[in-house]
């Protein structure tokens, strides 16, 4: 039998060169869990396994970095995207499931489904707005926001980490298009 590490994870996209002040960088693989639960079933739980679920719809809560990172994107009334380190998925799944024994919920590993890019630098909001119609002013979409939206002809999940710092996540087969679209947009 072959060892698991013989089959290395293959990147979906390679970095593209751009001379703009805004950089578009493919991010390393992360653990991603699509988590669904009806608010009533949460029964007041504010956090589960360290993931803070108390944020408003279209917000992002995050604690720590690296191996113990726990980020929760609240994308809908009963929908979160939980983000953790790539090699923590099984542990997190077990812990969350254990915490919700007997409670109706859905937890699906989608780590390989999605690909993320960081879009950073002065004017990053304009680059995203080249294909994303939502209001990205700091008033309407402050740091700590996250939402499902579109970029050109692709569906994305958009997070704002800081004024000039976004994370764009899309399904892997849309990643080359999203990357090309963003890099083209950095040309102004």
């Amino acid at each position: 039998m072959l060892e698991r590490n013989l089959a290395r994870r293959a990147p979906t996209v390679s970095p593209l060169v751009s001379e703009s002040s805004v950089t578009v960088t493919p991010l390393d693989p992360q653990g991603r869990l699509a988590f669904r639960i009806k608010p009533a079933a949460l029964a007041g739980r504010g956090t589960i396994d360290g993931f803070d679920l108390s944020g408003a719809i279209n917000s992002r809560t995050s604690s720590e970095e690296g191996a113990t990172m726990r980020t929760a994107l609240r994308l809908g009334p009963d929908e979160w995207m939980l983000i953790t380190a790539a090699d923590e998925v099984d542990e997190r799944c077990e812990a969350i499931s254990a915490a919700l024994t007997g409670v109706a919920h859905s937890l699906v590993d989608v780590s390989h489904r999605d690909v993320s890019f960081s879009v950073e630098g002065p004017g990053a909001d304009s680059v995203v707005n080249s294909g994303c119609p939502i209001d990205l002013s700091m008033r309407a979409f402050p740091a700590g926001s996250a939402t499902r939206t579109i970029l050109g002809k692709a569906e994305i999940v958009l997070q704002r980490r800081a004024a000039d710092s976004f994370t764009v996540t899309t399904w892997r087969s849309f990643a080359p298009y999203v990357q090309g679209f963003l890099v083209e947009a950095t040309r102004g």
Binding site: L6, A7, R8, R36, S106, S111, H112, N129, F174, P176
Partner: protein
């Protein structure tokens, strides 16, 4: 060419920055701040093109975006090669810069000598509606003579022949207040709206300098300062406010729902120093909380014989050229007017050194203070006069004028020699954007104009675009629209006009050309003819005569046409109606609309994790929905037929490997998951055991087949659903729709996992042998892992959902591994499978293999009107379930009627003949046309395993007609085929029957 008509000083041009433009091969000189139109006038050149239909010489009518005549082909970057030219640019808005190459249009062999001008003499046959009247017969002439000739003559300008070499970009933006137009009203609105620093304000103007009509104004004062000083101060204040974005060269061309306004910004056309790669234009899609329209107004031409001669211009445009661009449009000016505003032109032109006289249609008593001002200034004013006609050909040389008596008769004619005419028939508010916003127009008799009535969106109009013309009032109106107030003291404007449709004349009205629509060459007599022939609604007149249908959307012509029709019919003007204004306000390049959506960015091309391997191994691809899939893997010298024959043979004799990653996959989880599946699919799910798979059929509400696929039960509360490749998004939506709207009580959640898993299908008698060495924690033995079951474990050391399923009839496995591992696992299986002759196969072989077994493909055998029973799948429709989506519809009479089209096989008499998919089937090819068609071919292939061609077809009552002969259309006629069962191949190995 030098600049003989440039004034020695003044104007809003930068004389320290001279520049040159190539016009019809000659050099035009000018300065920064010029337009091509002002450079032409500086050089003394008024002839700027030939008209659309009659090829009449045409000059420059206006100084703005309403210009109908001076349309030029412009090569914006001739130095960079082909791909930078576009036609029909209005000379009046093309900002001059070094290196532009412009050419006039619609003439041969030259602008000066144009053979097409013969049309002007032949014009009696080119009357309104001549297409409908002239080319009726003989019938055969249409294809060979009329149409080619009309096509050659039609159109204006030459479409670009090569691909547009420029870049275009797109930008979404949001603001609290969007202001369209940076004239006095727009500036005042912006100033007021942006006083609150929390409010985001965008101010857009189509021109390259803010100020609107004040740019042409050298006499008005605002609060004791020259008007342009007020503009400069206001712009400086706005510039200093961080909450304001000022966009010059930006035309708001479309106003859509929810205050979504589309604007195009010209980014680089005006820049000689534009770096390569800088976008040419940027499309702004603005969502505004509120919109202030401050779009100004358009001046109306006067309608008299030969009113289109070069040198005849709108009065305000003459003022603009004299003041803003410091060029004289001639030496000898006659101002013809029914409007007070034109007197300002006369006074300014005189001050600039032109010899000026005025012909006013109005009587003394109807004029205001402007009359005495002009007379006191030494200008001869002929009131109560009409213009009979203009003289001259390629340039106006005189005007024949005459007094009109009280009874309307024409008095003694006088010829006024001139080389320039400034005409004004009053003003029309620019209500285009308001009308596009679905606002309701109201006719104001006092203003003789349609003005904004009831708004449909959060929008306000301010200033001249709603008929407010006096400068103080315009500024106050703008400030109010911006949410503030202002009561400036400004010079009183000359305002007011007497509506006049066609100037009185004693000439035979059927013999003269007095133009209403300059761009489409529509004359007053065309309109009269249309009315005489019974067209009374302006919408009908418009379509019959084409008035107002040119690219200028009738900005200068609409009110004259409307007024003329109303006058002939003797009806109030609103009773004739007004035309609907549609986007775009001015022409927009395709590039701006398309933005970056070209080439790789035209549409996402979805590739599977195994795509790189397929590409490296010579796959030929085909698009399936947005995916590209390997269709077949040709070896040296093979065509598709040979490759597919080899691939299908390998699957039946040893083993094939297939990339099935594009199959839609949905994880359905929750305590009610089984109940949900039971309601969505036609067959029964409650009793499916964990670890079992089942083929599911899904109907729409109307009972027709919607999608199909294999579903695995991974746990009591967890299903792994597969869908067709193309159906994945719609099945997800269908399921989510029912969950959210019909069954919110069910505790079920859906997650798309299509792209989480790469799927590798191993199919063929040796599939197990290839897979076995790499599998752990799964027993592959037949009794431990029978057909239609699923197990989780590891393949090549990575987590795997392993399905034992088959879409070929052979022993088969579908290996699901997390997508990032897909290519590595594929390569491993492929390399180690070499000893079994493992053969990669593509979608074409997959189709042939499933057709050999009679397996359907949704979307190929089905077309949205096919039931489960039509497909012979009624066994999959539960008779005991109380309900499922589509169940009720299955009892409708037509769904159970005799003779419905049913799926059968077709075997051609000649086994080598492959039918066309989509070919029609008839019983008797000898019957008269139209024949009765009894069905059509849905799938058709050459099958190497069957040793002959095979086809599937939907035939009326097909299952009762097995063995009968029918006829199928071919490109050459008909061919014979026999109706058969739709299973063509008998599998020899392990059975896969569920």
């Amino acid at each position: 060419m030098s600049q003989p008509f440039r004034r020695p000083s003044g104007g809003r041009i930068d004389r320290s920055r001279p520049l040159a433009v190539t016009f019809n091969g000659k050099q035009l000189e000018g300065f920064a701040g010029d337009t091509v139109a002002s450079m032409l006038i500086a050089s003394g050149q008024h002839l700027a093109g030939r008209s659309f239909k009659y090829h009449r010489p045409r000059g420059i009518l206006s100084h703005g975006s309403d210009e109908p005549s001076a349309l030029l082909s412009v090569d914006w970057r001739a130095d960079r090669g082909a791909g930078y030219r576009d036609p029909n640019n209005r000379a009046s808005v093309v900002e001059a810069r070094d290196g532009l190459v412009v050419n006039t249009q619609n003439h041969w062999p030259s602008l000066e000598t144009d053979v097409g001008a013969v049309n002007d003499l032949l014009s009696p046959i080119f009357v309104a509606g001549f297409y409908y009247k002239t080319f009726m017969w003989p019938r055969k002439f249409w294809d060979r003579v009329y149409e080619p000739v009309i096509r050659k003559a039609a159109g204006l300008g030459e479409a670009p022949e090569v691909r547009d070499a420029d870049r275009y970009s797109n930008r979404h933006a949001h603001c609290d207040v969007l202001i369209v137009g940076a004239g006095p009203a727009g500036l005042a609105a912006a100033l007021a709206a942006s006083a609150d620093g929390e409010k985001r304000v965008i101010l857009a103007d189509e021109g390259f300098e803010p100020g609107g009509a004040l740019l042409n104004d050298v006499t008005s004062e605002i609060d004791g300062k020259p008007a342009m000083a007020w503009v400069a101060e206001t712009v400086a204040t706005l510039d200093a406010r961080e909450n304001v974005v000022i966009l010059p060269r930006t035309t708001a061309f479309g106003y859509y729902n929810h205050n979504h306004v589309c604007m195009v910004e010209r980014v680089s056309d005006h820049r000689a120093d534009a770096p390569e790669g800088l976008a040419r234009e940027r499309l702004w899609q603005v969502r505004a909380g509120e919109v202030v329209l401050a779009a100004g107004s358009h001046e109306r031409p006067l309608v008299f014989e030969n009113n289109d001669r070069p040198g005849i211009m709108l009065a305000e445009s003459v003022r603009a050229f004299v003041n803003r661009w410091a060029v004289l449009p001639g030496n000898e000016l006659v101002v013809v007017t029914s409007s007070a505003s034109a007197y300002r032109t006369a006074l300014d032109a005189k001050a600039a050194g032109m010899r000026v006289s005025i012909v006013d249609i109005r009587l003394d008593a109807d004029c205001g203070t402007e009359l005495s001002l002009a007379r006191d200034g030494g200008i001869t004013v002929r009131t109560g006069h009409t213009v009979i006609k203009a003289l001259g050909g390629k340039r106006v040389t005189g005007l024949v004028v005459a007094p009109i008596s009280a009874n309307g008769s024409i008095g003694e004619k006088t010829t006024l020699a001139c080389d320039c005419v400034a005409m004004s028939g009053g003003w029309t508010p620019s209500v285009h954007l308001f009308s596009q916003s679905r606002g309701k127009l109201r006719f104001d008799v006092e203003l003789d104009a349609f003005v904004p009535g009831t708004s449909a969106q959060a929008e306000r109009s301010a200033g001249a675009c709603r008929g407010v013309y006096d400068l103080s009032a315009v500024i106050a109106d703008g400030a109010k629209a911006g949410g503030g107030s202002s009561t400036p003291q400004a010079t009183v404007s000359f305002a007011g006009f007497q509506p006049v449709r066609v100037l009185p004349t004693d000439a035979d009205a059927t013999k003269i050309k007095a133009f209403i629509d300059f761009q489409n060459d529509v004359t007053a007599k065309d309109i009269k003819l249309a009315v005489r022939e019974g067209f009374e609604s302006i919408e009908h007149v418009k379509r019959y005569t084409t008035t107002g249908m040119a690219t200028d959307q009738g900005k200068t012509s609409n009110m004259n046409a409307l007024g003329l029709v109303a006058g002939i019919l003797d009806r109030p003007l609103p009773a004739v109606g007004t035309t609907t204004f549609r986007p775009p306000y001015t022409p927009v390049t395709f590039g701006a609309l398309i933005g970056p959506a070209r080439d790789e960015l035209f549409d996402p091309v979805r590739r599977t994790p195994i795509d790189p391997w397929a590409e490296k191994n010579g796959a030929v691809f085909e698009p399936v929905a947005l995916w590209r899939r390997a269709k077949y893997f040709p070896q040296a010298g093979e065509d598709m037929h040979a490759a597919v024959a080899r691939e299908t043979k390998a699957v039946r004799t040893t083993v094939g490997i297939f990339d099935a990653s594009t199959l839609g996959k949905i994880e359905v989880i929750g305590p009610d998951a089984a109940e949900f599946m039971n309601r969505i699919y036609t067959n029964a799910w409650l009793k499916l055991k964990t670890g079992g798979c089942r083929y599911g059929l899904m109907l729409r509400e109307d009972g027709f087949v919607y999608d199909d696929g294999v579903v695995a039960r991974l746990a009591e509360d967890r299903f792994h659903v597969t869908t067709t490749t193309g159906g994945a998004p719609r099945v997800m939506r269908h399921m989510e729709d029912y969950l959210q709207t019909e069954w919110p009580d069910l505790d079920v959640f859906l997650t798309s996992i299509t792209e989480q898993w790469a799927v590798i299908a191993l199919q063929g008698p040796n599939a197990r042998k290839v897979l076995e060495p790499f599998v752990s924690e799964i027993d592959l033995a037949e009794d431990a892992f029978p057909h239609m079951t699923v197990k989780t474990g590891y393949v090549c050391g990575v987590p795997c959902r392993l399905f034992r399923v088959s879409f070929t009839g052979e022993l088969g496995f579908e290996v699901n591994v997390p997508a990032d591992y897909g290519e590595a696992v594929w390569k491993t299986l492929y390399e180690k499978g070499q000893k079994h002759g493992i053969t990669p196969y593509g979608t074409e072989a997959m189709h042939v293999l499933r057709a050999e077994m009679g397996f359907i493909v949704v979307g190929q055998e089905t077309d949205g009107t096919v039931t489960a029973d039509d497909l012979g799948l009624s066994g999959l429709v539960s008779k005991v379930k109380t309900d499922f989506v589509g169940k009720r519809s299955l009892t409708r009479p037509d769904m159970v009627a005799e003779g419905r089209r049913q799926l059968v096989g077709l075997l051609t008499k000649n086994p080598d003949e492959v039918l066309d998919e989509g070919a029609q089937v008839v019983d008797d090819p000898g019957q008269p046309i139209p024949m009765k068609m009894i069905g059509h071919v849905t799938s058709s292939y050459a099958s190497s395993n069957c040793g002959r061609s095979i086809a599937m077809a939907m035939i009326d009552g097909g299952r009762t007609r097995i063995g009968e002969t029918v006829f199928v259309t071919t490109p050459a006629g008909f061919t014979e085929a026999v109706i058969s069962n739709a299973v063509f191949y008998d599998v020899k190995g392990e059975t896969v029957d569920a």
